[in-house]
C-alpha cells in the first residue's frame, strides 16, 4: 500500500496501516471488555478503591493540582533545576547578557575555524 507511505531514509512509515491496526486491536479489546467478568458485582465493595483501609475522600478533594504533579521528578532533579530556574531571572539585563555571551562564543568558534 503506497497511499500514505512515508520514506524516512532508513525505513518506512504508513499511518493508514497503523490506523487500521489500532482499529482492529481496539475492536478486540472492546469485544473482550464486553464479554465481562462473571465475578463482578456492581455497587458492592468490589467497585470501591481500597486505600489501606482508610475512608475514600471526595473526588473534589482527591484531584491532584498542577503544582503537585511530577513532584518526585523535580525533587529528584533538584540539583539540575535549582541553577536552571535561577538562570531565568526575568531581568532584561540578563537577557541581553546571554545574547552577548553567546555571540562572543560563536565569534571565537567561527573565528578560529
Amino acid at each position: 500500500m503506497n497511499i500514505g507511505l512515508l520514506e524516512t531514509g532508513s525505513g518506512h512509515w504508513n499511518a493508514l496501516i497503523w490506523f487500521i491496526a489500532v482499529l482492529i486491536i481496539g475492536a478486540g479489546v472492546i469485544y473482550l471488555r464486553n464479554e465481562g467478568e462473571e465475578k463482578y458485582k456492581k455497587g458492592t465493595n468490589q467497585t470501591k478503591p481500597f486505600l489501606s483501609g482508610n475512608p475514600e475522600i471526595s473526588k473534589e478533594d482527591s484531584h491532584v493540582g498542577a503544582s503537585h504533579i511530577y513532584w518526585g521528578f523535580t525533587e529528584a532533579l533538584k540539583n539540575y533545576y535549582e541553577p536552571l530556574v535561577k538562570m531565568h531571572t526575568g531581568s532584561i539585563n540578563d537577557y541581553s547578557g546571554w545574547i552577548i555571551l553567546i555571540m562572543a562564543i560563536i565569534f571565537i568558534i567561527v573565528g578560529v575555524s
Binding site: 532508513s10 512509515w13 473534589e60 484531584h63 533545576y81 536552571l84 530556574v85 567561527v110
Partner: protein
C-alpha cells in the same frame, strides 16, 4: 486572472498593508464589522498564496521586480547585478508564506469572538495586519535591506500586540518592553551585518551577494551577527528568555502569530546560511553550532516546561523545545553539506525532518495556544492550579487539545510523529546520541502535556466552572481547521514531504539555482 497571478507577490504584501490603514477608518463607521473585514482580507491573501504555491511548485521560482518595466525582468541589459527591490519566491519562501497565510487567517477568525469585548480592536487588527505583512515580506523578499525593513515592522507590531492587554496588571507591558529591547539589539546587529555586505559588494540583492561571496573576515563577522540574532529571535536557548514572557502575555491569537514570526526568523537564518554562504563557510563548525543550540533548546525548553504552572508559559517553553528539533535537523544537513555522500545518505532527510517540523509546529503549537486561549476565555485564568474538570463543559476544546497534545508529543498518527520520525532516523546516522536526546525530549513533552490535561480538563466539575460553556463558533472553527490539517498531515505525510517539504529543502541546498534565477549564467 493572469494579471492577478502575475502580481500576486505584490498583492500578498499590498493587500494586508492597505487593509491595515483602512481598518481604523472602517472602525469609525462600523466597529463590529472590522473583524469580519480583516478575516476576509486574510482569506483573500491565503487564496493568493495558494495560487502562487501552485505556480511555484509546477513552474519554479517566481521573480517579481518592483518599479521595473517588466515584473519578471530581474537584470535589464547592461546591468551586472540587480538594483531594484526584487521578490524571489522559491519553494522554501512559499513554504513559509503558506504557514503565515494559514496562521494569520485563522488568528483573525479566532479573534472575531475572542477580542469582541475588548476596546481598541481597530488598533489590534491594524497591528495584526502589519505583523502578517512583515512576515510575508521577510519570507518573499530577495533583497537583504528589504528584509531588514520587514524585520523591523514585525518587531514593532509584535511589541504593540504583546502589550495589548496591558491594562490587566502591567505584565503584558513588561513583556513588551523586554521584547522591544531584544528586538532593538537584534535590529541593530542585523543592520550592521547588512552594512558589512553592502560595504564589500555594493549590492543588497541576496542572489548577487551570494554570487560575490568570498567568505572574508567581514563576511565571517556578518555571519556571526546574523546567526546569533536570528537564533535569538527564533527562541534558541540560552537566548530564549523573552519567549515565555512575550508568548504568555500576548492575546492567544497573537501568540499563534508570534510563533509563526519566530519561525520566519528561523527561515531567515536558514536562508542566509544556505543561500548566501552555502559551502563557502565551514559547514561542519556552523552545522554543529546549530546542532548544539538545537539540543540545548530541546532539552532546557522541555525541562523548564515540565515545572510551569501557567498554561501559556508551559506551552511557550515547548515552543523553544520544538525550535530545537528544527535546528537539529537542519544543523545535521548543514554539517554534511560539503560531503555529498553523507548529504545524499541522510543529510537531505534530516533537513526534510527539520523543515517539515516547522510547518507541523506552526499547526499544533497554534492549535495548543488557541485551546489555552479558549480556557482563558471561559475561566479568566492561566493558572493550572485554579483549573479542573473543564472537559465536562468544553468538549470541543478538550478534543482539540488532545489532538494538539498528541501531535506535539509525536504520537502517531498525528503530524508531529511524521517529522520527528524523519529527524530521529536521519540524525541517528549522523550521531546516535543526538537522536536519543530527541526521543527523550519527546517523552518529557508528552509528560508535560499530560500535566495540563490532568490539571485543566480532568477531575470533578469545579463549583466555579459549573456554568462554563463551550467557546463561540469562530474560535471552534479556527481550532477545528487546524485539527483537520494536523490529522491530514499525519495520515498523508508522504504527500506533504514530496510536494512541499522536499522542494523547499532542495531550494535551500541548491545555491547556484538561487543565484542563477536572478543573475542568469553569471
Amino acid at each position: 486572472m493572469n494579471g492577478i497571478l502575475m502580481h500576486a507577490p505584490a498583492l500578498v504584501i499590498a493587500l494586508p498593508l492597505l487593509a491595515a490603514f483602512v481598518t481604523p477608518i472602517l472602525g469609525r463607521f462600523n466597529y463590529k464589522k472590522i473583524s469580519w473585514f480583516v478575516s476576509a482580507v486574510f482569506g483573500v491573501t491565503l487564496l493568493l498564496t495558494l495560487l502562487m504555491a501552485g505556480q511555484i511548485l509546477t513552474n519554479g521560482t517566481i521573480v517579481y521586480v518592483f518599479g521595473g518595466g517588466e515584473a519578471g525582468l530581474a537584470l535589464p541589459s547592461g546591468y551586472t547585478f540587480p538594483i531594484r527591490i526584487i521578490f524571489q519566491i522559491d519553494a522554501m519562501g512559499i513554504f513559509m508564506a503558506l504557514i503565515t497565510a494559514v496562521i494569520s487567517f485563522l488568528a483573525a477568525v479566532y479573534s472575531i469572538s475572542y477580542m469582541e469585548d475588548y476596546s481598541g480592536v481597530d488598533k489590534y487588527y491594524t497591528l495584526l495586519l502589519l505583523l502578517a505583512t512583515s512576515m510575508f515580506g521577510m519570507e518573499l523578499t530577495g533583497d537583504i535591506f528589504n528584509f531588514f525593513v520587514f524585520f523591523e515592522i514585525s518587531s514593532i507590531s509584535s511589541v504593540a500586540l504583546i502589550s495589548f492587554r496591558s491594562t490587566f496588571n502591567g505584565e503584558p507591558a513588561e513583556a513588551a518592553i523586554k521584547y522591544m529591547v531584544i528586538s532593538s539589539i537584534s535590529a541593530l546587529m542585523v543592520l550592521f551585518a547588512i552594512g558589512l555586505f553592502y560595504g564589500q559588494y555594493g549590492t543588497l540583492n541576496m542572489a548577487a551577494i551570494a554570487s560575490f561571496m568570498q567568505f572574508t573576515k567581514l563576511d565571517k563577522m556578518a555571519l556571526i551577527l546574523f546567526l546569533t540574532m536570528l537564533a535569538m529571535k527564533s527562541g534558541a536557548v540560552p537566548m530564549h528568555m523573552w519567549t515565555p514572557d512575550a508568548y504568555s502575555e500576548a492575546p492567544s491569537a497573537i501568540t499563534v502569530v508570534l510563533v509563526a514570526t519566530s519561525q520566519a526568523s528561523l527561515y531567515a537564518l536558514f536562508r542566509i546560511i544556505f543561500s548566501l554562504y552555502n559551502v563557502t563557510l565551514n559547514t561542519v563548525t556552523v552545522g554543529w553550532i546549530l546542532i548544539i543550540l538545537g539540543v540545548l533548546s530541546m532539552f532546557i525548553g522541555v525541562t523548564m516546561a515540565v515545572i510551569q504552572k501557567d498554561i501559556k508559559r508551559l506551552m511557550a517553553y515547548h515552543s523553544i523545545s520544538q525550535t530545537g528539533y528544527m535546528l537539529l535537523g537542519v544543523g545535521v544537513g548543514l554539517a554534511v553539506l560539503a560531503n555529498p555522500a553523507a548529504l545524499a545518505s541522510y543529510g537531505i532527510k534530516a533537513m526534510e525532518g527539520g523543515i517539515f517540523h516547522i510547518i507541523n509546529n506552526a499547526l499544533y503549537k497554534g492549535l495548543l495556544f488557541l485551546t489555552a486561549g479558549a480556557l482563558f476565555y471561559r475561566t479568566g485564568t492561566r493558572d493550572l492550579n485554579k483549573m479542573g474538570g473543564l472537559a465536562h463543559n468544553m468538549s470541543y476544546t478538550t478534543l482539540f487539545y488532545i489532538i494538539g497534545a498528541a501531535a506535539i508529543a509525536g504520537i502517531p498518527p498525528f503530524n508531529g510523529f511524521a517529522s520527528k520520525l524523519i529527524i530521529y532516523e536521519s540524525v541517528y546516522q549522523f550521531n546516535p546520541l543526538l537522536a536519543i536526546i530527541a526521543m527523550l525530549v519527546s517523552i518529557l513533552t508528552l509528560a508535560s502535556f499530560v500535566k495540563i490535561f490532568h490539571s485543566a480538563f480532568l477531575g470533578p466539575q469545579l463549583e466555579q466552572y459549573k456554568s462554563v460553556q463551550e467557546v463561540p463558533k469562530s474560535m471552534v472553527f479556527a481550532m477545528a481547521v487546524l485539527s483537520i490539517i494536523i490529522i491530514f498531515f499525519g495520515l498523508f505525510p508522504n504527500l506533504i514531504v514530496k510536494y512541499i517539504v522536499h522542494p523547499a529543502v532542495m531550494a535551500l541546498i541548491n545555491q547556484s539555482h538561487y543565484t542563477s534565477t536572478i543573475l542568469g549564467g553569471m
